[in-house]
């Protein structure tokens, strides 16, 4: 069965097209990842699927209910962890969860059991009765995730769930999410900036850029589709002649200039390096270092978007800024 069926879905804000004619089917039980740079339209897409934003055109079915005509039924089938803050600061952590549990009609004994389990998983058990106001950023994030996992919906949306959390906590959360997906068969749609997260968790991923899906597949086939290893030459050159020269080398299938590196995709990468260095020198370009690695999702990402996913430290800062900006946005 198809759990989420997206048909020609489009959202425009004035002139800007945030989601551009997206078509996508997510199978029930699937753990699906949406990867994309800032402003790609991931949150906008999820907001439409969970009925808080009206599409400009097109539609979608979530668990066979139309997101425009059957909003109540859609809401009964879903759960969501929002990207930006959505807790009540003046309630305690426990009260936030209880509020959620009541709205979603989680039976009391189930509720207590899950609450205990999740609070422990999120390492919030000893702070459960403190006001959320007094929580740190990471604690709030963990509480939001706990809340999202409290009722077990048919389809769960996770919008950058582990953003800003430390690696160990992320690991715990991944394991829990995976368990939930496997044991309970909950369909999940997850957005993330962390390649390792997408790689570890997702059965399939879609790369979205400027509101459009530019690549779709399971992580390993996407990586294989690159057709070889990635050689990265640290240099800021953008010389077209150099590109032609490099492409002539045997086994090289692609050459991309990204920010401060020249990236070659090649099979038998290690044999290509000496020749590549020769070509670079012939063009009078200086290279500071060379590296070779098996393709990662990051490389897939660069291939389809021509850009790097921002590095993590910079990313967190940018993200924080966006989150503040976000708060004003989602209402309509």
């Amino acid at each position: 069965m198809v759990a989420v069926k997206i048909t020609d879905l489009t959202k425009k804000f004035d002139k800007l097209t945030a989601v551009d004619n997206v078509n996508l089917d997510i199978e029930s039980g699937e753990l699906f990842g949406l990867l994309g740079p800032n402003g790609a339209g991931k949150t906008t897409l999820i907001s439409m699927l969970c009925t808080i934003l009206k599409p400009t055109s097109g539609t979608a079915q979530v668990w066979n209910h139309d997101i425009i005509r059957e909003q109540d039924m859609v809401r009964k089938s879903i759960g969501i962890v929002f990207q930006d803050q959505s807790l009540d600061d003046n309630l305690t952590g426990r009260e936030n969860l209880q509020f959620h549990g009541r709205l979603y009609k989680v039976p009391k004994n189930v509720m207590n059991e899950r609450m205990k389990e999740l609070m422990e998983l999120m390492e919030l058990a000893d702070r459960a009765d403190d006001l959320v106001k007094t929580y740190s950023g990471g604690m709030r994030r963990r509480l939001e995730i706990a809340r999202g996992l409290l009722h077990h919906p048919k389809v769960l949306f996770l919008d950058e769930p582990t953003l800003g959390l430390d690696p160990q906590t992320r690991r715990h959360i991944w394991e829990y999410i995976e368990k939930l997906n496997q044991n309970e068969g909950i369909t999940m749609l997850l957005t993330t900036h962390y390649m390792d997260e997408a790689d570890y968790l997702c059965d399939r991923i879609a790369i979205i850029d400027y509101g459009k899906i530019v690549a779709l597949g399971n992580p390993s086939s996407l990586k294989e589709s690159l057709g070889g290893d990635v050689i990265s030459l640290a240099s800021s050159s953008k010389d077209e002649k150099l590109r032609e020269g490099l492409l002539k080398i045997e086994n090289v299938t692609a050459v991309d200039f990204v920010e401060d590196a020249i990236r070659l995709t090649a099979s038998k990468g290690e044999t290509v390096i000496p020749e590549a260095l020769n070509v670079v020198r012939e063009h009078g370009v200086e290279v500071k270092s060379v590296s070779l690695h098996a393709p990662t999702l990051e490389d897939v990402f660069i291939k389809f978007t021509g850009r790097r996913l921002r590095d993590e430290a910079e990313g967190k800062k940018g993200q924080l800024k966006r989150r503040i900006g976000h708060r004003r946005r989602l209402h309509h």
Partner: protein
């Protein structure tokens, strides 16, 4: 449905009990009004032929000040939906499987309850300051009718607040609402002066102000029909209609927004 309304109501109550500073500050103003204005102007208008017989000014304005407390608390409760939106919590409610009507009703009843508690505190303070229960209904029935009017005033204006919050985008609009709607409504309501003595044009404005009927109703139920301007049933009828109207309006606008 009932349990959803209860859930939303409960959250309002928890927040109310926790916001000590809000409780105190929203009582401070009416207390100052009652004590200072009551005493200062009271001296001026002593034995005024316009005030009902043997009534001092504090006594006269007490129902008006109770009405004011309820008005401010309830409008604010309704408008606080803007905060929920600003801080993101509204999204949590909006994606939940609850009807928009339950959300409005929960919010409205929560706000009404807090407004009634605040009104009741003012009422007790009034009694301590010497306000007498002197309506022909006696203490028991008089009290029940008083509470009913508190309820109607509260529900009407929380709903109005919710309706406004569904229309305005941010807290900036809030000051406008206070200056152009809430304050005029209060001053025109006859809370501070008898309506009988007003010139016709002002009387007309007073009659249009829904709060007039709320405060007149409180007067009638606390101090009796000889002090009130309209018959109690008129107050009750007009206010009920207004309440129904604002409630429907808020449900409609909230759903649309």
């Amino acid at each position: 449905m009932i349990s959803d309304i209860y859930t939303i109501w409960l959250r309002e109550m928890i927040r109310y009990v926790r916001s000590k500073s809000r409780i105190i500050s929203s009582l401070a103003m009416p207390i100052i009004w009652l004590a200072l204005l009551g005493t200062a102007i009271g001296g001026m208008v002593e034995d005024s032929p316009f005030l009902p017989h043997n009534m001092n000014y504090i006594q006269y304005i007490a129902p008006g000040i109770i009405g004011m407390t309820i008005l401010f608390t309830s409008i604010f409760s309704g408008i606080s939906i803007i905060f929920d939106r600003e801080f993101g919590f509204l999204k949590e409610i909006l994606v939940a499987p609850v009807s928009r009507l339950s959300i409005v009703l929960g919010k409205a009843l929560g706000g009404t309850t807090t407004a009634m508690i605040q009104g009741m505190i003012m009422f007790i303070l009034g009694i301590l300051l010497g306000v007498k229960f002197s309506s022909e209904f006696g203490i028991g029935l008089g009290f029940i009718i008083t509470v009913a009017f508190m309820f109607l005033i509260g529900l009407s204006f929380v709903s109005l607040g919710i309706a406004i919050a569904s229309k305005i985008e941010s807290m900036e609009g809030f000051q406008m609402i206070m200056s152009f709607l809430v304050m005029p409504m209060f001053f025109l309501s006859g809370a501070l002066y008898p309506i009988e003595t007003l010139p016709d044009w002002l009387k007309l404005l007073t009659y249009i102000d829904p709060l007039t009927y709320g405060i007149d109703g409180l007067r009638g139920s606390i101090q009796g029909s000889s002090v009130a301007h309209f018959p109690l049933l008129v107050d009750f009828g007009v206010l009920s209609l207004f309440c129904l109207f604002t409630l429907l309006l808020s449900a409609y606008l909230f759903k649309k927004s």
